[in-house]
């Protein structure tokens, strides 16, 4: 029998004392009134996935990314994606060192711990694809030399859903590398009032951010998440859901096996955040929307209820 305590303490104890709880608190301070979004960001982080945030300008996408970067204490890099951005601007490039008479590799932003790719759909597919290898395999190959990225490499990409002029929609291959797509949405009225109150006297309008989690600590948490148990019936349930996405009439591109693996990992992270050493179908369902919305191709006539239909069409194991 597995030792539960090695993965997760008993009910009632705080697993992430000084860790996840502090990070959660930090993020909630940075992005007010969005605890649900914060939970999903945390799940994505613990699942070692990458995050695509799609929302209108000014809703806190960049703030959120910076807060995550500061919270986990890693190196933060930001790339403002534009049409003239080149792949080398992301991965880095080799320059000739006059002193040593050798080419020297100058690492690009992908070598940071948290990379914010702002308005990713404004850059060309060529540059977008530079991120493919980095996101999937956590390495970058420049001039036939493979460079390993940071183990906590975490991409937060943002895109604007309303402006389409001069944009390059992310290809499916790129989308499938993201674990989740989130939409932050407008804050509630009370939260906005509080936001205004906090901004009085603050010159920069940016909350104080401090490191709350060591990198090693995060890696440890990610390892524990990977050990969260997924019983056979839940695995079957996940597989059935994947098949249901492929069979649905209004879904033109179903869930890939890579997407299925990510779904399971995110569900594990979700269970971890709920202090549970195993995954339930509820975890699977609760993370289904952000996980599936980034990677399912929907028919032009698809309505908003497709994901709900898929979830309702598969009976849960009880």
């Amino acid at each position: 029998m597995n030792e539960v305590s090695s993965i997760l303490p008993r009910q009632g104890q705080k697993v992430e004392s000084g860790g996840i709880a502090d990070l959660r608190s930090l993020l909630n301070r940075a992005l007010r009134g969005k605890p649900g979004v914060i939970e999903q960001v945390l799940a994505c982080l613990l699942a070692r996935g990458h995050l695509l945030v799609e929302d209108l300008p000014g809703l806190g996408k960049t703030t959120l990314a910076k807060a995550v970067a500061h919270g986990i204490g890693g190196r933060f890099a930001r790339v403002q994606c534009t049409p003239d951005l080149l792949p080398g601007d992301i991965t880095g490039f080799s320059v000739f060192n006059q002193k040593t008479r050798e080419f020297e590799f100058l690492p690009g932003p992908v070598f940071a711990d948290v990379l914010l790719a702002d308005e990713i759909n404004r850059t060309t597919p060529r540059t977008q694809s530079a991120l493919l290898e980095a996101m999937a395999e956590r390495q970058a190959t420049v001039d036939n030399v493979c460079h390993t990225l940071a183990p906590t490499f975490f991409v937060i990409a943002t895109q604007n859903p309303v402006e389409h002029h001069g944009t390059y929609p992310l290809p499916e291959a790129q989308l499938d590398r993201f674990a989740m797509k989130l939409s932050i949405g407008y804050p509630e009225r009370d939260d906005e009032v509080e936001l205004l109150a906090c901004a009085i006297g603050d010159l920069t309008n940016s909350p104080e951010l401090s490191q709350v989690l060591e990198r090693e600590e995060l890696i440890g948490l990610q390892e524990r998440v990977a050990q969260i148990a997924v019983s056979a019936n839940v695995r079957t349930y996940l597989a059935d859901l994947a098949r249901a996405t492929r069979a649905h009439r209004q879904v033109t591109l179903g869930l890939s096996p890579r997407g299925l693996l990510i779904w399971q990992r995110v569900a594990q992270a979700w269970a971890f955040l709920k202090h549970r050493p195993f995954v339930t179908p509820d975890d699977v369902q609760q993370v289904a929307l952000p996980v599936l919305s980034v990677r399912l191709g929907l028919a032009p006539d698809a309505t908003g209820g497709v994901l709900k239909q898929i979830l309702e069409s598969v009976p849960v194991p009880v």
């Binding site: 030792e3 148990a229 591109l253 339930t280």
Partner: protein, 786 residues
């Protein structure tokens, strides 16, 4: 396994044209079936009926749900509707038989079930599979109709059906193809890595069954199979079983009469029944009523009847005036008195239809005080007219009476020799003997008594009749003319006891002339005198009628009939005495659904002549009745309700107890079931803590369903219960803990649970006790659905 390349399920539902053509096919097939079912029915009615059913199906199709995914099978609920439709003919048939007295044979019920099945499929024609099934049903209906119907219109329908069927096949094929055509911009191929292919069990079973059936057929031989199949068909033929609603078949009595089947014996074609050694009716009369005797004369000899004397002197007496053609009313007691169960004789004929019924055999005209003489033959104003279709022979009066209420159908199956008599009910409108459609085959005996001309009535034939029933209310308006002096059926004995005429006057005086007077005489005789089969007049009695009326007050039925006839004649009504058979309802044989008529059913009654020349039965004998018009459908329903009420009142205690028990069981069914489930949980909590939790969750699922909050299949137990109860779950309460346990039990694999098995059982017990159905109802009331 190789990946399976499929197109997304964008298949359209059945196009309207295909549905319309399917409807047209079913209309044709249903019309043909209706025609085949009752070929004698007018064509427009058959087609109209079929159109009605198909129209209802078309109407239903407008409201039928459309499928989300046509490739899937229809919803199970819809299949249930179709099955109910197909079972409907079998459910309706007993009601039809009991209420209307008509019915369809089993094979037609099966065909109607198939018709309903086809119509049901048409209702759900949005599913292509249903359209195909409807088409197959229509094809079978058409084949059936063509096989059994001889109506020429069915052939025409078949031609149209074939033409339309070709179009239907093309449309269905095209519909099938359309499922694989999707717009090029929407074409996406998905790789579906299926699991291991399932073995096609259904197809395997069908193939194995077919092979086994062929082997069995070869092994036992086709003849035996045919015989077994024959046993399944309820005909009135060679199986020995008899179904009055069955269609005709080989060895069926009807077909024997028609002689249209070479395998039938064709009794009407032979003369083997012409000579019959059986005793005559008069021998039977002597057996039943006793030997006649001549009374000892105390008074001077009676003056001779001048008329008969004149006849006697001028020429040989007419057939009816011969000495052996009379019925003396002075008789000894019968040697074997009548007993209700003493009916051993073979039936002379069997009657199908409503009873009681009077079947005339001999009519008597002259009464000399002691004996009745037969009436002369062939003196009727009624004509035989052969109908152009249907082989019916109609009886037409010059001035028909307006006293009839309804028409009644009977069938007389001749089973024994009865001379040339063709048994028919009174007020006959028309009759049919197989396919004998020539009036020359029949002749009149005495008035309104039909005989076969120049031959005896063959055994085995069936006489179908339609007669009219007298409405007692209309009789009051009927006129009964005063007979002219000297005509038949009006003469009184010269030595008639004056007290008899006085008695008639006394009984009839309070009433106006006509039916009220006749009814008064009839009722007084029935009420005041006693039927006694063994009563006899004294040997020296010269006035048996007077003795019966004034002295003994008891006698057999001929005395009642004689009294009625003489009393009515003395009042000036044209009256005759009739002997014949009384088809009593008590003799009905429920097994064969016939009423057999034997010699013991011989009976005497009186008849009064109506203005048209027809004769109206006067039944003065107590215990004997005249067939009245049947009750209407509402009256029958009311009568059955009353019967039910009577039965219920006789079993009031048992019924009340049963109803209370059933009602309580139904009303508190959930409570009963819950109590049973709780008891079960207490006795069998489960082999381990996971099973215990699971069983309690099942109980909660029941309760939630009964409280109107069923769990959907996509919900886990915790999600469902938290959604249904919303804020009612206190943290760390027993149900909160149970939900945690539920997750552990279902999804935690072999992780060590953070609680002991005893604790789990305690919590389960608390939840079972603290969350009964009533609490579920209270907690979920007014809350939005989960």
């Amino acid at each position: 396994m190789a990946p399976d390349m499929i197109a997304p399920d964008t298949s359209p539902s059945t196009p309207p044209l295909t549905r319309h053509v399917t409807l047209a096919l079913l209309l044709l097939a249903s019309s043909a079936t209706e025609i085949a079912a009752v070929e004698t029915r007018p064509l427009p009615i058959s087609v109209g009926l079929a159109a009605l059913w198909v129209g209802l199906a078309a109407l239903g199709a407008r409201f039928a749900p459309t499928p989300a995914r046509t490739r899937r099978l229809p919803y199970l609920a819809l299949l249930f509707v179709v099955i109910v439709l197909s079972a409907a003919p079998f459910l309706v048939e007993p009601l039809r038989r009991s209420w209307f007295g008509v019915g369809y044979p089993l094979e037609l019920q099966l065909v109607f079930a198939l018709r309903n099945l086809g119509l049901g499929f048409v209702v759900f024609a949005s599913w292509p599979s249903c359209v195909r099934l409807a088409g197959v049903a229509s094809l079978f209906l058409m084949l059936f109709s063509v096989t059994i119907a001889a109506h020429p219109v069915v052939r025409i329908f078949l031609g149209i059906y074939c033409a339309l069927g070709s179009i239907w096949l093309m449309l269905v094929y095209w519909t099938g193809l359309r499922r694989y055509f999707v717009a090029s911009d929407a074409t996406v191929k998905l790789e579906i890595q299926g699991g291991p292919e399932r073995w096609p069990w259904l197809a395997t079973c069908v193939v194995v069954g077919a092979v086994a059936a062929i082997l069995a057929l070869v092994a036992v031989g086709p003849e035996r199979v045919a015989r077994i199949a024959w046993e399944w068909l309820p005909t009135s033929g060679g199986t020995g079983a008899f179904d009055p609603y069955a269609r005709g078949g080989v060895n069926d009595g009807d077909d024997e009469t028609k002689g249209n089947d070479p395998r039938s014996t064709g009794m009407t074609q032979t003369d083997m029944f012409l000579e019959s050694p059986l005793p005559s009716l008069y021998d039977v009369i002597n057996d039943l009523y006793g030997e006649p005797f001549k009374p000892k004369e105390r008074a001077p000899a009676l003056p001779l009847d001048i008329r008969s004397k004149a006849n006697e002197s001028q020429k040989p007496p007419a057939d009816n005036l011969r000495p052996n053609r009379e019925f003396p009313t002075t008789r000894k007691s019968p040697s074997a008195p009548r007993e209700p169960g003493d009916r051993k004789a073979r039936a002379l004929f069997e009657v199908q239809g409503r009873t009681p019924l009077h079947v005339r055999v001999v009519a008597f005209d002259t009464f000399d005080g002691v004996s009745w003489r037969e009436a002369p033959v062939n003196m009727t104003s009624c004509l035989f007219i052969a109908e152009p279709v249907g082989h019916w022979i109609q009886l037409r009066d010059t001035r028909p009476d307006a006293i009839f209420a309804a028409t009644e159908a009977h069938q007389f199956k001749i089973t024994g020799s009865n001379g040339a008599l063709l048994p028919t009910p009174p007020h006959l409108a028309r009759f049919r003997v197989g396919r004998v459609d020539k009036t020359e085959f029949f002749c009149w005996g005495q008035d309104r008594i039909i005989l076969m001309a120049r031959r005896e009535t063959p055994t085995g034939i069936v006489v179908e009749t339609e007669s009219q029933l007298v409405d007692a209310n209309l009789l009051i308006c009927a006129g009964f003319s005063v007979p002219r002096e000297g005509i038949l059926f009006a003469g009184l004995p010269n030595n008639l006891n004056p007290k008899i005429a006085a008695l008639a006057q006394e009984w009839a005086d309070p009433y106006p002339r006509g039916w009220p007077q006749i009814a008064a005489i009839q009722e007084r005789l029935r009420a005041d005198l006693v039927l006694d089969w063994t009563a006899r007049v004294p040997d020296d009695c010269g006035d048996p009628l007077g003795h019966f009326l004034f002295d003994s007050g008891r006698g057999p039925d001929y005395q009642f009939a004689t009294a009625a006839a003489v009393l009515l004649r003395s009042l000036g009504y044209t009256t005759r005495l009739v002997s014949g058979f009384y088809v009593a309802p008590e003799n009905y044989d429920p097994q064969s659904r016939h009423t057999p008529v034997v010699h013991e059913d011989l009976h005497f009654w009186a008849e009064v002549r109506l203005p048209s020349g027809d004769w109206l039965i006067v039944e003065p004998t107590p215990g004997y009745d005249v067939l009245q018009p049947g009750p209407s459908i509402f009256a029958r329903v009311w009568e059955s309700i009353l019967d039910c009420l009577v039965w219920a009142s006789g079993h009031a205690i048992e019924l009340t107890l049963g109803l209370v028990a059933v009602g309580s069981l139904l009303w508190w069914r959930r409570e009963f079931l819950e109590a049973a489930a709780r008891t079960f949980l207490r006795v069998f909590p489960g082999p381990n803590w996971q099973a215990c939790v699971r069983r309690v969750l099942w109980l909660l699922e029941w309760r939630g369903g009964w409280a109107g909050r069923p769990r959907r299949s996509c919900q886990t137990f915790p999600a469902w219960i938290r959604g249904a109860l919303a804020m009612s779950i206190a943290p760390n309460s027993e149900i909160d803990q149970l939900l945690l346990m539920a997750d552990w039990a279902a999804y935690a694999n072999d992780l060590a649970p953070p609680w002991s098995a005893t604790h789990v059982r305690d919590i389960c017990g608390q939840v079972v006790d603290r969350w009964p159905l009533s609490r579920w109802r209270n907690e979920t009331r007014g809350k939005p659905g989960a």
